[in-house]
Amino acid sequence: METLEQLKARLETAIPNAKIEIVPNPSPVNQPSLLLDTESARAIAHFLRDDPQLRLDYCSNVTGVDWLKAGYLEAVYHLYSVALKHGPVILRMRTGNRADRVYLPSLTPVWRSCEFQEREVYDLYGIVFQGHPDLRRILMWDEFVDYPMRKDYVEPDDYEYDPTPHDDALEKARKHYPQAPAPLQTEAAQ
């Protein structure tokens, strides 16, 4: 299979307005990814699926990532080819911010396997995929309002103690049990 630089060059000639960046991956596994812009993502996806040299017909994994410090949410797609048995080609798309500009184009019309996975990213991260046929919560119940996998999610205060408390659980217990009880008197001390 061709390298990511060659792929990027071909994509830029095929889709003229595409703004693609290569995101390097310093780990030993050699899986760098392509950062796409939201306007041309659908066209790029169609190209990757239909190009006879690539035939990336199988979208294996859709992941949501919350980059709290950088201030955006991200969706990562891992693509493989069943026909030509190569891969992975990794795509990334980033939202504008984490509050109101959380829209990304859905790639479900290109690969059907994104359907449930994009719903899960919406449910747990809050990224709204435009063009998804049925975007609603999938793992949490419908009345739930938070996005639990975000880094700044605060869990509900639903347990007051822990049998073997670590630091956070000890803090929580101190809030509910402010008075430390008197130490037990042994018979020898009395």
Binding site: L139, M140, W141, E143, F144, V145, D146, P148, Y153, E155, P156, D158, Y159, E160, Y161, D162, P163, A173, H176, Y177, A180, P181, P183, L184
Partner: protein
Amino acid sequence: MIDASLRQEMARQGVVTTTVQELYNWGRKNSVWPLQFGLACCAIEMIAASMARFDIARFGAEVFRPSPRQADLMIVAGTVTKKMAPQVVRLYNQMPEPKYIIAMGACAISGGPFRAGYNVLKGIDRYLPVDVHIPGCPPRPEALLEALMALQKKIDAQPLTGPDRPRHLDANAPGEYLVPECGEHDLVPSSNSQLWQPPVLVRGE
């Protein structure tokens, strides 16, 4: 109570004596029908307990009923999540008395390894009265059989009259338990305060 030697003499002559309570409880404890209700990994060990090697049929409990209307025992096997908790309580309410619960596995007792999860209910005893707890992750099928035997001992000891009598013989006992609702952030209410209070911490500083 009848004198033991008199009992033995009569038994030698072919006359069996017992009390109504013993007979009643003997019949009940040896045909406890569980509800076919596996939630997670512990369900596989529960199924293994009903298979040929461990054989729960010896205890009269092989008939796993899918319908709660026909079951006596609910083995909560696996993690109860907040999304599933209303369903579990509703199923328990639909079971006719006398009914029992075994909380199988660490997740059903207290949330288990997933205690820190936002969607995990930290123990089914927050909403339902549990009779026997089995620790383990997952507990071996032998542990489930031990729990069943402990439940049988408990049923055997239940008197028919008096203040300790079980719920199904007491007209004032609650028939149904509170079904929680899925709220915006958590279950509403987060536990049934009549059934469960957070335990008292006694710890020296």
